[in-house]
Symmetry: C2
């Protein structure tokens, strides 16, 4: 029998708790047990952050998924798709369609590697650099908003997030 038996836990639903008191949104519910879970709040925060970023880039007709890839190619010219997938934290199979998109728009270039015919290296074109600058401006504006929200806590937040990522394989 597991340690956690929801039946045995007091309802905790009497008053909507766990409110940070910042947003003006009144909530007609209690997060209950969930309110104490790092995993759950990680998802909520990531979700909120991504949605805000997507809204900003969407207005400028830019794909948010392009940003990380373009940025990583910029900072690692000659990177290969597999390394790129690991750097961006996504499965390698999801990189293929992104690269196809970027190639079709002439934002990146492929170069074959004589030493390994299975792979190829990537670099940004002039247009790719320009597009990255555009996206980077949005990303920076977005991160400034986040900075303002977390304030002094920024270094600690970054430290903890990096720690979680690095520790979970």
């Amino acid at each position: 029998m597991p340690t956690a038996t929801p039946e045995g836990v007091s309802k905790a639903a009497s008053q909507p708790s766990g409110e940070a008191g910042v947003s003006a949104k009144s909530k007609a519910f209690s997060l209950g047990l969930l309110d104490d879970r790092i995993g759950f709040h990680l998802r909520l925060a990531q979700n909120a952050s991504f949605k805000a970023f997507k809204k900003k880039t969407g207005e400028a007709d830019l794909k948010p998924g392009w940003f990380a890839v373009l940025s990583l190619i910029h900072d690692n010219p000659g990177i290969t798709p597999l390394v790129l997938s690991r750097a961006s934290g996504r499965d390698k199979s999801t990189i293929t369609p992104v690269l196809r998109d970027l190639l079709r728009n002439h934002l990146i270039e492929r170069r074959t590697v004589p030493a390994d015919k299975r792979s190829y290296t990537l670099s940004l074109t002039g247009a790719g650099n320009a597009r990255l600058a555009e996206l980077a401006a949005h990303a920076e504006a977005h991160d400034r908003v986040l900075d303002q929200i977390v304030g002094e806590g920024r270094p600690e937040l970054l430290r903890l997030l990096r720690l979680v990522t690095a520790s979970l394989d």
Copy 2:
């Protein structure tokens, strides 16, 4: 002209930096500009956390997506689908198939509301409580792993994540 011009930024790719020094994984790349972005690390951490949780529940043939919904219904008996979607941070349209699944498995019950024929209230069945207990055990084990990773930083991390979620609408 945007403030951020990638061309004007020093490569920063000389040495793979931004390593938390915990994982044994050697990385052959630099995160570059991305390494300083809260949004990016939020995504990496959430992704790593969810993947670990999914692996645990997957072994026991449990759907990770069910957990938040069952938990919220448990702590808010009589909650409606729309409120449930807001509480779990997902679009209302994504709740429908989850509830259909849970209903088919007799884990939850619907009850019509005389005051509003469009809506209905939700509550857990006995089997639902049992299944929740099972999932909660996995979630707790997962959060204990996260606790061990973040250590003393746990309250601050939770505070900052809640702050981000609450502030971004």
